[in-house]
């Protein structure tokens, strides 16, 4: 396996007294697409924000947490880097993000060219150089730079805006790009185009992607490895093939069954119960209220994330030898 680019260790984040991410540890390898998948409110965007260090002020990262970024031979704990250094050396330059909601993420009052000029100013780039770079990137995402640079966001379609956002994320040559729901709110055909484009860009600029989504089909399409998140915990972490063809955790199994397959006309299968209430999480495994296989031990003790097969991690008592 290739080298690790970013790894988190015991990442825990709380909002006030509510723990929304709990002991998340994972590795992202250079050149891969790593997907965090889970329902809304499961903490996947919080993990992304912790990596970008754009959490709201009320959020509190547990002091034991580590987010280690590997640069050449050195490993840097991003949580220990002071904010001004982080924004100078890392944010957008090493790690960039394509934010969720392409339709509202651009400033509606300025032209696209000014978006790039503003970014350039913030990073001490010459205006001409910035526009030249923007020109090249816009060509890479198959937009007409001449036209697009002079448009206001309102004059563009959703697909065009998403492309511009991707361009802006790539503007300072990052190595790791966090994609937060890159295709929601786009039409089916536009989605497909963006997915193909993301693949091309990854090869062209040797990027590493971290994909954050609730869309299982998108994961199947893009990811190399997948972490399934439930109630702020990674419950299963493995290769995309293992997750789709040999899922272990009852939640992963339920999630996969809930997605309709093309050409199958049957009743939708649904995970019983409702999404977890963070204020009233059960003491043991957090999935118990919805789990068809719940046992005694599940109610008492929370299962740790254990490697049950090579590269296949599951947090479930069903698979643990005792």
């Amino acid at each position: 396996m290739s080298e690790v680019l970013l790894s988190t260790k015991n990442l825990s984040v709380s909002y006030y007294n509510t723990k929304v991410v709990s002991n998340a540890s994972f590795n992202i390898y250079k050149g891969e697409t790593y997907a965090l998948v889970g329902e809304s409110g499961c903490g996947k965007s919080t993990i992304a924000s912790s990596i970008m260090r754009t959490l709201p002020e009320i959020a509190h990262i547990n002091p034991d947490s580590q987010i280690v970024y590997h640069m050449g031979a050195s490993a840097i704990d991003l949580l220990k880097v002071p904010e001004n250094e982080f924004s100078r050396r890392f944010r957008w330059k090493e790690i960039a993000m394509v934010p969720q909601g392409a339709l509202n993420a651009l400033n509606p009052t300025i032209r696209i060219r000014d978006h790039f000029i503003e970014t350039a100013k913030a990073h001490d780039l010459e205006k001409e150089e910035a526009l030249e770079r923007a020109w090249k990137l816009l060509e890479a995402v198959k937009l007409d730079p001449q036209r697009v640079l002079n448009l206001y966001p309102i004059e563009m379609s959703g697909g065009m805006k998403q492309r511009v956002l991707i361009t802006m994320a790539l503007f300072l040559n990052p190595k790791l790009v966090l994609l937060d729901e890159p295709t929601t709110a786009l039409d089916v055909l536009t989605q497909r185009e963006i997915l193909i484009l993301l693949g091309e860009l990854k090869a062209k600029y040797s990027l590493t992607y971290m994909l954050i989504t609730h869309d299982i089909a998108l994961v199947a399409d893009l990811a190399d490895r997948v972490a399934v998140i439930y109630a702020g915990r990674i419950v299963e972490d493995s290769s995309v093939d293992n997750i789709f063809y040999d899922p272990k955790h009852p939640y992963t199994i339920g999630l996969l069954r809930a997605v309709p397959k093309l050409g199958e006309f049957k009743e939708p299968e649904v995970i019983p119960g409702s999404t977890p209430d963070y204020k009233r999480l059960p003491p043991g495994c957090k999935f118990i209220p919805r789990c068809p296989f719940a046992m005694d031990i599940c109610r008492k003790e929370e299962p740790p994330l254990v490697e049950i097969d090579k590269g296949h991690f599951v947090a479930c008592w069903l698979y643990m030898k005792r």
Binding site: S40, T190, R192, E193, I196, H214, A220, A223, G263
Partner: protein, 322 residues
């Protein structure tokens, strides 16, 4: 006799750009028939006119040209009493559960208001019974738990259930569901579609299900009649099974091949048949609406608009290739 019949519907929207006034047909010569107790799927990307057509059948948008009939009677020629009956019997489930509920009203009031306005109950007790009955039908169990909640206290799925309850409480004969699950998580989509399906099946309601996700229509069975719309035109109409296994119109073929499937092995078989975004409805191509993007376009397509014609008993298609 079909329950809802829309004939030769044209909806023209006009917009102003500076001094110039221009107009376009959001819905262009579309026929729609829905038999009692059946489900019709309306499939299309954003801007295809599917919502406009749905609203025309509810008399929420007046068509520029064309006739809408409810139980054989033209709704424009109804007397006050008949029109009232039509209004009660034709209901709407909106797309966005976050924007469509009154934020200052409790669930109980939202539903009670409708019962009171239409004087459906003789006394408060009867009204309460109706509300309880409807709420449990849409899966808000136990109803008492949700009575005194404001919309912001509910999750996305619960809000959408309230929206569904609002449409069902009048026991209508016809419901238009306009992308009712687009804003929800994958694992919830199936549950909500199921709720709609079961609720309408028990009282034999006709349903127009508007969506851009072909996979969702599968829940309604392989024989569901589906209309595919593109830029205001119906380009193909067939039972779902036929549409999936034997799509004939190039647009339907492109849609079918672009559908995201939750299977990593399917990656290699994906291809993009249509490039670019649909043109602005203001400058539609003069001939076939797809002629500027269609890989099979011939000279005739650019000149002449194809008409929707039957190529087998229940498979209609608007394309010069056939």
């Amino acid at each position: 006799m079909p329950l809802i019949e829309a004939k030769d519907i044209i909806v023209r929207f006009s917009i102003r750009r500076g001094w110039r006034r221009s107009s376009f047909n959001a819905v262009d010569n579309v026929d729609l028939e829905i038999e009692q107790g059946t489900i019709v799927g309306l499939l299309g990307e954003s801007g295809s006119g599917k919502t406009t057509l749905g609203k025309v059948t509810l008399d929420l948008i007046k068509p520029t040209k064309g006739v809408v009939k409810f139980m054989g009677k033209n709704i424009m020629e109804m007397n006050k009493e008949e029109y009232m009956r039509y209004r009660i019997n034709a209901q709407y489930i909106p797309q966005d559960p976050y924007a469509s509920l009154h934020p200052f009203k409790k669930v109980r009031d939202i539903l009670q208001e409708i019962v009171k306005y239409h004087r459906l109950a003789n006394n408060d007790k009867e009204a309460l019974e109706m509300i309880l009955d409807t709420m449990s039908k849409v899966g808000l169990n136990p109803p008492e738990k949700y009575f005194d909640k404001y919309p912001f206290q509910l999750s996305g799925g619960e809000r959408q259930r309230v929206s569904i309850a609002r449409a069902l409480i009048l026991k209508p004969m016809y419901i238009v569901a306009d992308e009712p699950v687009t804003m929800l998580d994958a694992s919830l989509k199936g549950a909500i579609v199921n709720t709609i399906k079961n609720a309408i099946a028990t009282i034999g309601i006709s349903l127009l299900f508007i969506t851009h996700e072909i996979t969702l229509l599968q829940y309604f069975g392989s024989q569901t009649n589906v209309l595919v719309m593109y830029l205001g035109k119906v380009v193909e109409q067939a039972p779902l099974k036929e549409l999936l296994h034997n799509p004939l119109h190039p647009y339907t073929q492109a849609l079918a091949s672009a559908i995201p499937v939750a299977d990593p092995k399917a990656r290699t078989t994906r291809k993009l048949l249509l490039r670019g975004a649909p043109p602005s409805p203001l400058n539609k191509p003069p001939g076939c609406v797809l002629s500027d993007r269609c890989p099979f376009a011939i000279e005739k397509c650019r000149r002449e608009q194809p008409i929707l014609k039957a190529i087998s008993p229940n498979h209609l298609i608007a394309c010069h290739l056939y």
